[in-house]
């Protein structure tokens, strides 16, 4: 019997692309996606269920569909345009409900994949140049986002203790850049104005969006347990990020940069989420050898991820923002997936 996979956050970049990747895998029998909004990418055979942010109905869905794998990608890893309450609801309460459903008595679930972020390490002057998965953080926890990520991973640890038979994979992603994904950094690079803190040129690490999807697929397909850092090889100076992407650096004063930046943030000229402040001083690097040892090969380095974004931006400047090529229409999707009138080639 093939695998039955449930993906959260189908309406986000992460969930949508992951569902597309799994659709190409003949070993995956059924894909079910949860999302608060309609999916933004065309999907062949993924079933879409609209759910609220905290997945209170998840328990019923898991029982009814007998999924064996849950890929939890609906976690916020930046705090732009989101209140701390919603952030807490999505990250902590959402994960709590998801793990409760996965660990219910007599569960069909055998693997849980959770997305996390290297923000969990924080950034401080006392950091090692490269964080290993077991290295603890030095920076005090100041932001809501970091606190919620730490809480999520604590929930996952408890879950592993309570359910030792289950395969649990946690992927900590560095800053994602690429053709499609929109993050605070990529938004700034698109506007060609990159905030920095005067006198600092931190070394930062990126991961390309294709590598993100491939790594999620890799741990899901091979059922690899453990916590892994996911980031492209090497670190590069912030000033070089700006020059590769053709953006101008926008220096903020070293003392209280946030209040100086706030009028520019309100005008929408820059995005400067609170978790970026220490990063722009001290940078961050993670050791990715553990994931590579499991047989994963990166296609892009950190600099390659920035170049990939720069190429996408060049195209965008030349031809403008392309219209979304796809719009989800429930009736059409329902017709293609379930109507007896559609001739289906693949049959088991």
């Amino acid at each position: 019997m093939g695998r039955r996979v449930l993906i959260t956050g189908l309406d986000t970049f992460w969930g949508g692309r992951m569902a597309q990747a799994l659709e190409a895998d003949p070993n995956v029998e059924m894909i079910l996606g949860l999302g608060t909004d309609e999916p933004k990418v065309p999907l062949e055979r993924t079933e879409f269920v609209r759910a609220d942010q905290t997945y209170s109905i998840l328990n019923r869905i898991v029982r009814a569909t007998q999924v064996d794998t849950i890929v939890h990608t609906f976690l916020k890893t930046n705090s732009v345009g989101i209140s701390s309450r919603v952030l807490h609801e999505i990250n902590v309460i959402g994960t709590l409900n998801l793990l409760a459903a996965a660990g219910a008595p007599g569960t069909s679930v055998r693997q849980v994949v959770v997305k996390s972020s290297t923000h969990i390490y924080g950034a401080s002057e006392k950091d090692p140049a490269w964080f290993r998965e077991e290295t603890g953080r030095n920076a005090p926890v100041r932001t809501r986002l970091e606190r919620s990520l730490i809480e999520v991973e604590a929930l996952v640890r408890d879950f592993i203790m309570d359910n030792p038979r289950l395969v649990v994979s946690v992927l900590r992603f560095a800053h994602v850049l690429g053709t499609d994904i929109l993050t605070p950094i990529s938004a700034d690079l698109r506007r060609r104005l990159l905030p920095c803190i005067a006198g600092f040129d931190p070394l930062v690490q990126f991961v390309e969006e294709d590598d993100v999807v491939r790594s999620l697929e890799h741990v899901t397909r091979h059922r690899i347990p453990g916590t892994f850092n996911v980031a492209g090889a090497g670190k590069l100076p912030w000033s070089e990020v700006a020059s590769i992407a053709g953006a101008f650096l926008f220096p903020l004063p070293p003392i209280n940069p946030r209040s100086f930046a706030s009028p520019f943030r309100l005008l929408g000229l820059i995005q400067f989420p609170v978790e970026m402040e220490t990063l722009l001083r001290f940078g961050r690097g993670v050791d990715t050898s553990r994931l590579i040892e499991t047989g994963f090969a990166y296609r892009y380095s950190s600099a390659g991820a920035v170049e990939s974004l720069a190429r996408a931006n060049n195209l965008r400047r030349a031809v403008g923002d392309d219209e979304p090529a796809y719009r989800y229409e429930q009736d059409v999707e329902q017709f293609f997936q379930h109507s007896p009138a559609v001739v289906r080639e693949i049959d088991g």
Binding site: E125, K126, D127, P128, A129, W130, R132, T135, I197, A198, G199, F200, D201, L203, P254, R281, F282
Partner: protein, 237 residues
């Protein structure tokens, strides 16, 4: 600077290996120490090998300084960083075990080595399985000698120490922070110290570590005294 201002002179440069990791250990002096760049630039110039200087992580908090330091090949002194450089990458790495106690000492205490921390550098070298190469530097003390320290101001500015140097008096408080006296710098490389222990262990006997650290400190101190005995002039060597 290196060639014409400090006219750096090396002795025993052949004791530094051309390949493989080694932990260079040196004495530290001068309000804003000139010995670190002298050693790092020197080995790079003479041997063509990069040297990674380990500095107090305090510097990373200071705008501009931290960036320049890391561009020059400086690394924050974190045990993980040292192990990675020495063991995984087989690089040369330079530490000053006196820490900030070295450069903060006043001119009256010149060439008197401070306590060698907690012997962390010996432990790292043991774990990485690399030799420790002590390096004695003479001249950096006189390039920016500290007359006295203002402790209250250091506390207010959150600095490890706030020195008032002879350079401040000679060149004024601003220029005096960057202008060195042209003292002749002599660098003497000592024989490598190897440890007869298994590399890769999590812990090493504390008494062994402290003994080795003290032995290296004594070696450096003796060499410094020898070099000072031979020195006829601060400026011409």
């Amino acid at each position: 600077m290196y060639r014409h201002w400090f006219r750096v002179e090396w002795e025993g440069l052949d004791k530094i290996p051309m390949t493989g990791g080694a932990l260079l250990v040196s004495n530290h002096a001068g309000a804003i120490p000139s010995d670190a760049p002298a050693i790092m630039h020197g080995i790079e110039e003479e041997l063509g090998r990069p040297v990674y200087g380990m500095a107090d992580y305090f510097f990373r908090k200071v705008p501009v300084v931290g960036t320049l330091w890391s561009r020059a090949g400086g690394v924050a002194a974190h045990p993980d960083n040292a192990y990675r450089l020495l063991h995984d990458q087989g690089q040369l790495s330079l530490v000053f075990p006196e820490g900030t106690k070295g450069p903060s000492k006043t001119y009256a205490d010149r060439y008197r080595l401070r306590r060698f921390g907690r012997g962390g550098f010996v432990e790292i070298a043991m774990r990485s399985g690399v030799p420790v190469i002590p390096i004695a530097v003479v001249g950096a003390e006189e390039s920016m000698p500290i007359l006295f320290r203002i402790n209250g101001l250091a506390k207010a500015l959150k600095l490890p120490y706030f020195p008032v140097t002879a350079n401040d008096l000679a060149f004024g408080p601003l220029l005096g922070k960057v202008a060195y006296f042209p003292a002749k710098i002599k660098i003497h490389v000592l024989d490598p110290v190897t440890f007869d222990v298994d590399p890769g262990l999590e812990r090493y006997s504390k008494s062994r570590v402290m003994d080795e650290a003290e032995r290296i400190r004594a070696m450096l101190q003796d060499t410094l005294h020898d070099m000072l005995r031979e020195r006829r002039s601060v400026w011409f060597g």
